[in-house]
């Protein structure tokens, strides 16, 4: 129910909607909960709405996990 999948904003149409690439499928997604998103951003999509921006690079989780394992 709280399932959300990552997608990439291909084209923000207006403050309400954007074309989002989910895997290999392009879908029209509501972006009204994330006024700041722009083309190229990654978002998590839940039930047709983008609910949060996803920042893979800044979070750097995978590298940190490896570092922790070696510590």
């Amino acid at each position: 129910m709280c399932l959300a999948i990552p997608g990439k904003i291909i084209k923000k149409i207006d403050n309400e909607q954007a074309e989002v690439l989910l895997g290999k499928v392009k879908k029209l997604i509501r972006v009204s909960l994330l006024p700041e998103v722009k083309d190229g951003d990654y978002v998590l999509v839940h039930a047709g709405y983008a609910i949060t921006k996803v920042d893979f690079q800044q979070a750097n989780e995978i590298e940190q996990a490896w570092e922790e394992l070696e510590s």
Binding site: M1, C2, L3, S32, L33, P35, G48, I51, T52, A65
Partner: protein
């Protein structure tokens, strides 16, 4: 695929499991409070790969499962009104009420439609102006902003045949009720990643502060969950319970302020009934009075008298007191084809997950 595969990397998962196994021989029990976590843990086989001293139990994190029978009966009563379309997420139609289910009502003529996104309810309302279109609004903080957004849109666009049955529920109050009951031993909470994307990390602070329990916000891929378990163990070993965010790519400390404002604008906290846990103060959401024209609670329908199956132990399962394997109905009478309780209905239900993924031994 980029950004998927590295979070499912076999080598990293194996290294994390080896590390987890080497940390301690002490026994710890961690609860995941989100149904999506439950499924991910079973599907990836994490439960079987963890050392025997690390136990995972599931909590009240599946919105379909925690909706009490009285609410199911109410939805059924609403579906029997004339000129009414009930719009719902899929799993709800299979949940048994006291004497019927939405599926049964649909079979005898009620207009019940399954949607993927709440916004579809407005499309249906526009398409059928002569009908009352009632959206069954279940969900936690992840879904509630979507429901709020749909209600606002209905008001702005004057869509007056759309109604929301507000059954939204809030995570922090139920976690507090659960921990306050001291029924199940819990050494750490695996906090729900997508609820946290909305509410941020601060609302969990009472868990370490008041209960001294470790707390890690986790994503849903196998690597995410293993990292979270590693940190839950470390917090216990170091006797340093706190809220750690290990889902930084999606969760900010402040959450999603736009979504939080929206919730606040449309809803007000109210007491809510949970399956197996009774009424919990401020754990649900009611529509604010300015939206009463769109509130499905204003329909006066008479729901049947609630009748629970006394043998169904859904409540105990949802509180983490027992596993489904300890329920006398599990796999014998209660199966996904003939669910007795909601935990066997929903794809995210603990019983359904045990049925699908676990061995008879568990």
């Amino acid at each position: 695929m980029k950004y998927y595969d590295e979070y499912r990397d076999k080598e990293l998962c194996q290294a994390l499991i080896a590390k987890i196994s080497s940390l301690t021989e002490e026994s710890f029990t961690f609860m995941e409070v989100c149904g999506t976590h439950t499924i991910s843990i079973f599907r990836s086989g994490i439960k079987d790969l963890l050392p025997e001293n690390i136990h995972l139990i599931s909590g009240p994190g599946c919105p379909v499962c925690v909706t009490p029978i009285s609410d199911i009966d109410r939805i059924i009563a609403l579906s029997r009104m004339d000129n009414t379309i009930i719009v719902t997420f899929g799993d709800m139609i299979n949940v048994p009420g006291s004497t019927s289910s939405l599926k049964r009502e649909k079979a005898i003529g009620a207009d019940i439609r399954i949607i993927y996104s709440p916004s579809q309810a407005l499309d249906i309302a526009l398409e059928f102006p002569g009908k009352k279109v009632i959206l069954v609004g279940i969900g936690f903080e992840t879904t509630v902003p979507l429901l709020a957004s749909v209600v606002l849109e209905a008001k702005e666009k004057n869509i007056n045949n759309f109604y929301l049955l507000s059954l939204g529920k809030l995570m922090p109050p139920i976690i507090k009720a659960l921990l306050g009951s001291h029924e199940a031993r819990i050494d750490g909470m695996l906090c729900p990643g997508h609820v946290s994307a909305i509410i941020g990390s601060k609302p969990y602070q009472f868990i370490p502060d008041s209960y001294g329990i470790a707390c890690v916000i986790a994503g849903f891929e196998p690597v995410d969950i293993l990292i979270a378990i590693y940190h839950l163990i470390m917090q216990n070993i170091n006797k340093d319970p706190r809220v750690e965010n290990k889902y930084k790519r999606a969760v900010r400390e402040e959450g999603n302020p736009t979504a939080l404002n929206l919730i606040n604008q449309v809803f007000i906290p109210r007491e809510s009934e949970w399956r197996g846990m009774g009424r919990v103060k401020d754990s649900g959401l009611a529509l604010r009075s300015e939206f009463s024209g769109w509130d499905a609670r204003n329909f006066s329908v008479v729901a049947e008298i609630t009748k629970e199956n006394e043998q169904c132990l859904c409540g105990e399962v949802l509180r983490g007191v027992i596993t489904p394997l300890q329920c006398p109905l599990f796999r014998k009478v209660c199966t996904p084809g003939n669910p007795i309780g909601a935990c066997m209905v929903s794809g995210e239900g603990v019983c359904a997950a045990y049925y699908k993924y676990s061995s008879v031994k568990g």
